[in-house]
């Protein structure tokens, strides 16, 4: 009965934890709020659980605008868990977050000199929908730990790092390079997927004005 075997094999391969070469992995995702980005990302959105890395040349490259629709959606889930911000570079400005539809009472800011430890606790605890962390440097082993913690706590971990680390190996499931558009007339950024499980290879241009409206 070769047909049944093939069918069983297909079922097995459709399992979310199996990832085959060039195919798109079947991961649980949710929309990013940007149609162009959804089309480029594997699974059509941000992964629901796991670790992603966003590399930026400097703060202010649009790293928050990229995640704002997702943050708004996650913080408005019922029942919603925490959205933690581990050692952010400045103060998140509450009125602007509110204006973008983010539920402030789900935000938890953590100021620490141990961002790796705090991020791991947040991801592993199961109390967070999403944990954003600004890390100066981290070894691949530490990132691997965060990846495992995120899967265990069923949370989305986001690491903000400098573009200088782009060539370092990283076990994160998705790595995104974000560069602001040089054209002063448009407020947006160019998103390149450095590493993804079957995502687009071309840079995607996004405009934040569209997201804010």
């Amino acid at each position: 009965m070769p047909e049944t075997h093939a069918k069983q094999l297909e079922e097995l391969l459709a399992h979310p934890s199996v990832w085959r070469g060039r195919s798109r992995a079947a991961v649980e995702t949710f929309p990013t709020g940007f149609a162009a980005l959804d089309a480029g990302l594997p699974g059509g959105g941000w992964p629901r659980h796991g670790l992603i890395e966003i590399l930026t040349p400097q703060p202010g490259a649009g790293e928050l605008y990229l995640l704002l629709p997702a943050l708004a959606a996650l913080s408005r889930l019922t029942p919603a868990r925490w959205c933690t911000w581990v050692s952010p570079p400045h103060e998140p400005f509450a009125p602007a977050l509110m204006a973008h539809g983010v539920a402030l009472d789900r935000m938890l800011i953590v100021r620490t000199h141990l961002p790796l430890w705090a991020q791991e606790q947040a991801l592993r605890s199961g109390a967070c929908e999403v944990a954003l962390a600004w890390l100066p440097r981290a070894s691949p082993r530490a990132i691997r730990r965060l990846q495992l913690a995120a899967e265990q706590g069923r949370a989305l971990g986001v690491l903000y790092r400098s573009r200088a680390f782009a060539s370092d190996p990283s076990p994160a499931m998705l790595r995104v390079l974000l560069e602001p558009l040089a054209d002063a007339g448009r407020h947006g950024a160019r998103v390149s997927l450095l590493k993804s499980r079957g995502g687009s290879r071309d840079p995607i241009e996004l405009e934040w004005a569209a997201a804010a409206a």
């Binding site: 649009g62 925490w82 400005f93 938890l108 100021r111 141990l114």
Partner: protein, 551 residues
């Protein structure tokens, strides 16, 4: 018998018909009453015997307290009196047998007492110790009923009606209460021997106990009759009112009850009439319960000195288990736990764990202590550990969820406060906080640090209130302190010249609270394409500042 010890009076129930032996001549209470005449003659008592109060009165408590405080010291044979030191013209509040024999009376001024007995030994009262003794007594009473209240300074009230079936009836309960008071070592040492009385109302029981009368009344219908012979002073009304009543020829409660209600209320106030109604059970007399303050204290002497944090935690394990047992039996949790480590020479090291919600689980407490200990520096090895729990608080019991949090939309249960506690244990309380918006024009005042909300809250301030026009004009990042920018020919620079894209938006506010701002805000773009929120002060200085970044 010692002069300061008193016979424990716990009278037997009256076997004869109610009121017959006591004061048959003034018995005026009848189920069907004649037209109302006096304060007590409003007909049959309306309240059935819904309540039964035991009052405990400790006679000469101030004297006993002083004697306890000085036990061991050479006791002088001089007559001893206790005065209230807070009073400007001190009066005698208690006198021992010697002093009383010499003619000193309670209520006398100290000067008068000295005139009688020149070698009098006068001491100020020790109110704290008196209260401690009453609390001790209340602690014993609390094992019989939850409704215990202290009637300062020397009375205690217990409502025992609901406990009767639990303790096998009234007589058995009274016997057990008496035995428990006798068996208590502290009370025995101080010779505190309370007088107990039983009555259907709290005030009646208390009055009888103060009078030293035998009083064991369970039937509210005989209450008024049995109270009649008691002296007026047992009500402890102000001295001045007692003197006025005495001037009217009223010496006992019976004579008091005979006064006409309306006239009595007019002369002495409605509150006094209400007192009388409470005494006779015509008016409800709720009492505030005494809540016992219980804390956990554990101590462990180690066989050998320990330096290693992990091993200290291991050593604390039995104490934590004991703490968990202590909390579980009370169905309570603690929100603060203090650890003290004693060393050979150095002063004890202490660390306090604060929790976001009541906790009773030893394993969780241990894991939090581990984080807390991680940044604790011990000057010397530890010889002894002490654990002190904070105040007990209600701990809502919940069943464990089937799914882990976040799976299948399952609500997180204890994880959310647990994460905060875990982070705070290591990083300190101020390191973890939430955000809230404030309706205010000045950007630095438009948000505030808030305690993280454990339950989702409906925000009182909506986005519309925050005076944010189009959301695009408020940055996502705000700098703690505005950063001054260089400028060249009046144009701001920040790593290259800035291009102004939008603005100005003028914000001028705060002249009334000293933090006056006068600013023109612009959106600018730097050479890398990042958008910045900058402002220019439009007072004399005209300086440029960077205040936010459009993340």
């Amino acid at each position: 018998m010692h002069p300061r010890s008193y016979r424990l009076i716990f009278p037997e129930p009256a076997t004869s018909s109610p009121g017959s032996s006591a004061t048959p001549s003034v018995l005026r209470v009848r189920p069907a009453s004649p037209p109302p005449k006096g304060p007590d003659s409003q007909g049959a008592l309306q309240l059935p015997s819904r309540e039964l109060w035991i009052a405990a009165h400790v006679p000469q408590l101030p004297l006993l307290a002083i004697a306890t405080a000085e036990s061991g010291a050479a006791t002088s044979s001089a007559p001893l009196v206790i005065v209230d030191a807070a009073d400007r013209n001190p009066r005698i509040i208690d006198a021992d047998a010697n002093a009383q024999a010499a003619g000193v009376q309670v209520g006398m001024t100290l000067g008068a007492a000295f005139a009688l007995v020149p070698h009098l030994d006068a001491r100020p009262r020790d109110a704290a110790l008196e209260l401690a003794l009453m609390r001790r007594l209340a602690g014993i009473a609390a094992t019989f009923t939850p409704q215990v209240s202290i009637e300062p300074p020397d009375g205690l009230l217990l409502e025992i009606k609901p406990s009767l079936s639990l303790f096998g009836g009234l007589r058995e309960l009274c016997r057990q209460l008496r035995d428990a008071c006798r068996a208590d070592p502290v009370l025995a040492q101080t010779q505190v021997q309370p007088r107990f009385t039983l009555a259907p109302t709290a005030l009646a029981a208390l009055a009888a106990a103060r009078a030293g009368a035998r009083c064991f009344i369970t039937d509210p219908n005989v209450l008024a009759a049995r109270l009649k012979p008691l002296p007026l002073a047992t009500l402890r009304w102000p001295e001045e009112e007692n003197a006025r009543l005495l001037g009217m020829g009223v010496r006992t409660l019976g004579e008091l009850m005979r006064l006409p209600r309306a006239g009595f209320a007019k002369r002495f106030g409605v509150e006094r009439l209400a007192d009388l109604d409470r005494l006779l059970g015509r008016r409800a007399d709720p009492r505030r319960r005494l809540v016992r303050r219980e804390r956990y204290r554990g101590r462990l002497d180690l066989d050998h000195e320990i330096e290693d944090h992990e091993r200290i935690l291991e050593a604390l394990r039995p104490l934590l288990t004991e703490l968990e047992q202590f909390l579980r039996t009370r169905q309570r949790g603690i929100t603060a736990l203090q650890c003290r480590f004693h060393h050979y020479r150095a002063a004890p090291t202490s660390c306090t764990l604060r929790l976001a919600h009541p906790e009773a689980n030893a394993g969780r407490l241990q894991s939090l202590l581990r984080e807390r200990l991680a940044n604790l520096v011990l000057p010397e090895p530890v010889r002894r550990c002490e654990l002190r729990g904070g105040a007990l608080s209600e701990r809502p019991l919940a069943s464990s969820p089937l799914w882990p949090a976040g799976e299948r939309g399952h609500a997180p249960a204890g994880e959310m406060p647990a994460l905060i506690e875990h982070l705070r244990a290591r990083l300190g309380a101020g390191a973890v906080y939430g955000l809230t918006g404030v309706s205010e024009h000045r950007p630095e005042n438009a948000w505030r640090v808030a305690e993280p909300a454990l339950a989702p809250v409906v925000s009182k301030v909506s986005a519309g209130d925050l005076s944010v026009g189009a959301p695009f004009h408020r940055p996502l990042w705000l700098l703690h302190v505005p950063q001054e920018l260089d400028s060249q020919r009046g144009r701001p620079r920040h790593g290259g010249e800035l291009r102004l894209l939008a603005g100005p938006e003028r914000i001028e506010s705060g002249w009334w609270d000293g933090a006056d701002v006068q600013r023109d805000y612009y959106v600018a773009s730097n050479t890398h394409g990042a958008r910045l929120w900058i402002y220019r002060e439009y007072n004399a200085s005209r300086r440029w500042f960077l205040h936010g970044i459009f993340g």
